[in-house]
């Protein structure tokens, strides 16, 4: 009897010990948090989703948890210079009218092209942030987008910035705010259809509110197209148990009609 009791105690101890020390003992809520030694108020590591959710509108403010700071203001219209404003508004009207007719104009997504910057930070789908020494890497689930922010690296001269979808991002700390500067975005990679020049800069102020929220205040400047800085803010909430899905745009049966530019659906019988 005493032996049976001893065996039981040893078994309980052994199973408890193994649970505590098993390789899988990383709590799910800790998954993705940084191992870089960053203090909590400078730690963007983990998986996140837009907050409030991005499903309705990128510019609509919504309810916020008390800890997530004051309500967001709706993002203002782009401060385009007068000579570009009419063409921009005509383009937006054309898109609205095409939608109303049920003949949407094909978009970059129709061609399986990713958002690029700054649209990627809208976080239409969840995103993952990896924070390592001297670098923050942001992965957006949609289109497997990846941008790399180099902390403390010298800024890329804007005249030498090779254009890309995510550009060249360098950053420095201003207190506990990570200030990111991005240059080199391809001219047809546009946020809200707004045109820009090679002189466009995207400045971000990324700030952790609490363990579960951070925000990204984005300011776009462009001496060629904009009359003043264009500023808006997106916030994110931690999605601790989430693992990003892969996203290869391998078969979009919506295609751009080569004659009309309208999005249409392709059928298998046509192949």
């Amino acid at each position: 009897m005493r032996n049976a009791s001893l065996v039981l105690s040893l078994a309980v101890f052994a199973s408890t010990f193994s649970l505590l020390h098993a390789p899988s003992a990383v709590a799910q809520s800790e998954r993705g948090r940084s191992d870089s030694g960053a203090p909590a108020n400078r730690d963007f590591g983990g998986t996140w989703e837009r907050y409030p959710p991005a499903t309705s509108s990128a510019s609509t403010p919504g309810p916020l948890a008390p800890s997530a700071g004051p309500p967001l203001l709706a993002s203002p219209p782009p401060p385009l210079k007068q000579q570009y404003l009419a063409e921009y508004e005509a383009g937006q009207k054309k898109i609205r009218e095409a939608d109303a007719r049920g003949e949407p104009i094909a978009t970059g997504y129709t061609h399986c092209l990713p958002d690029g910057m700054p649209s990627m930070m809208m976080a239409m789908f969840p995103m993952e942030v990896l924070q390592t020494a001297g670098q923050v890497t942001i992965i957006q689930e949609a289109y497997n987008q990846v941008r790399r922010i180099y902390i403390g690296a010298p800024a890329v001269p804007i005249e030498d910035a090779e254009p890309g979808f995510w550009g060249h991002s360098t950053a420095k700390w201003d207190g506990d705010t990570l200030v990111v500067d991005t240059v080199g975005i391809k001219d047809y990679v546009r946020f809200r259809n707004v045109p820009h020049s090679a002189q466009m800069r995207i400045s971000e102020r990324m700030h952790v509110f609490d363990a579960d929220h951070f925000e990204d205040q984005i300011t776009i400047t462009d001496p060629v197209y904009l009359t003043s800085a264009w500023t808006f803010t997106w916030r994110y909430q931690r999605k601790p148990d989430y693992k990003l899905y892969e996203y290869v745009c391998e078969d979009n049966r919506e295609f751009a009609d080569p004659e009309s530019g309208k999005a249409r659906m392709r059928f298998k019988k046509d192949e």
Binding site: G102, P104, T107, Y247, K268
Partner: protein, 137 residues
Amino acid sequence: MTVNLLRKTGIATFATLLLSVCASAHAHHSFAMFEHDKQIKLQGTVKDFQWTNPHVYIEIDVADESASRKVWTIECANPGILNRVGWKFNMIKPGDKIDIIVAPLRSGEPGALLKQITLADGRVFSNGGPAGTPNIK
């Protein structure tokens, strides 16, 4: 002639891209090609279930009122969105009987956007938030 055609096509393609990459403001694409106000129910047999990005597709063989058969292509959300509302990559197989509520293409072609699916075992799934909800039962 050919060069001119290529030039025109190239310009048209570029113009399309120009209009496009950016139309991204609020959603990954417009659902305007579908008639959301004229949703219909379809019953049929799955011919193919394709679990891909940017959309999952169901090919469904439907018998219409005149007893002739027609294959419809049903556009669903993407695997990420569908996983998040409870779908699994292997929950539908060719030969399965399904009931669906869809928004058909405005063009009249046999294609549609899924609103809701009922599997043979009675389980009901949505197509995720961005695709909207059914407005018929």
